[in-house]
Symmetry: C2
Subunit: 197 residues, 2 copies
Amino acid sequence: MPYGDAMAARTRSEERRAEIVRAALDVIAERGYRGASLAAVAERVGLTQQGLLHHFPTKEALLVAVLKERDQWDAVPDSRWRADLLASLVEYNAMRPGIIQTFSALLGESVTEGHPAREFFTERYGTVRASMAAVLRAEYGERLPGGLTPERAAPLLVAVMDGLQYQWLLDPESVDMPAAFRDFLALLGEDPGPGGA
Amino acid sequence: MPYGDAMAARTRSEERRAEIVRAALDVIAERGYRGASLAAVAERVGLTQQGLLHHFPTKEALLVAVLKERDQWDAVPDSRWRADLLASLVEYNAMRPGIIQTFSALLGESVTEGHPAREFFTERYGTVRASMAAVLRAEYGERLPGGLTPERAAPLLVAVMDGLQYQWLLDPESVDMPAAFRDFLALLGEDPGPGGA
């Protein structure tokens, strides 16, 4: 087919993919991780399941696409990140349990052998740790008030966000995720003084 | 059947269950979470898969039994816990990726609707948070040097342990889990001084 037609076909396919990803996000919000079957998403966009498989060969591939898209929407240019924006992000996450549940469930699966989402999460964490270190460096310089370097604080910051999500998803009445995260930011940002480290 | 026979039958069944749980732990250590199929465990103990299902109706039920058993082995009387023992536990966990992977994968699944391990994890986290708060209170009193109460520090402590496990399982070369956890303990235990909170 002529070059122009091939371009148009690729654009249509990309638009279709984007539409499927948005539909998957809706289904996740309404029915959660387990309810987000390929069949439910296909129905939402008026495709057969076979038609959907043409764009996303597995449920995992579709969910990874949803999580990548969320990362793009959540993204803030590195130069504009501040630690207190992270507190806002956690506050916001507490209002959207569907996507947080999907993230947490898929992260859990991804640590098993040969899981299709493993590469996505491994790369993502490398990027996120580096990005968080940059945020902390911009805010505090080479050493945080609590005594850690940005590179040593970054994995803790990410771990607290992820770990709190599990506790909160399991028992939202008992775990105030945003408040707990603010407690952690305060620990990172406080000067231990001459008696400290 | 007479009372004594019933007792004996129950004991035999409990012994059989314990044997299956130990076999499952071995299979997990050798083959990881995905390799720990009911078929593989049944073969290890010389049972048919049907025979195994009599004791554990699902893979999830068997894995929850394994995790409960691990919790019992890892248990330290509350009066003997100290924060630095937690660092030793994390050090030790870094040597047994199979069971940590199983824990992390099942925790991930458990946040989905109606998952058979959800109740186990919800109860476990309630217990673990209370136990960690007691440990921190015994060590630091009503307020930690960093300024938090034991009840506010406990969910962070648990979150860091869990969150670091995911990062470490995905990328053990990039994440020094025990060192990162010691960094966190130092943050909790340091006096922020008069300029702090």
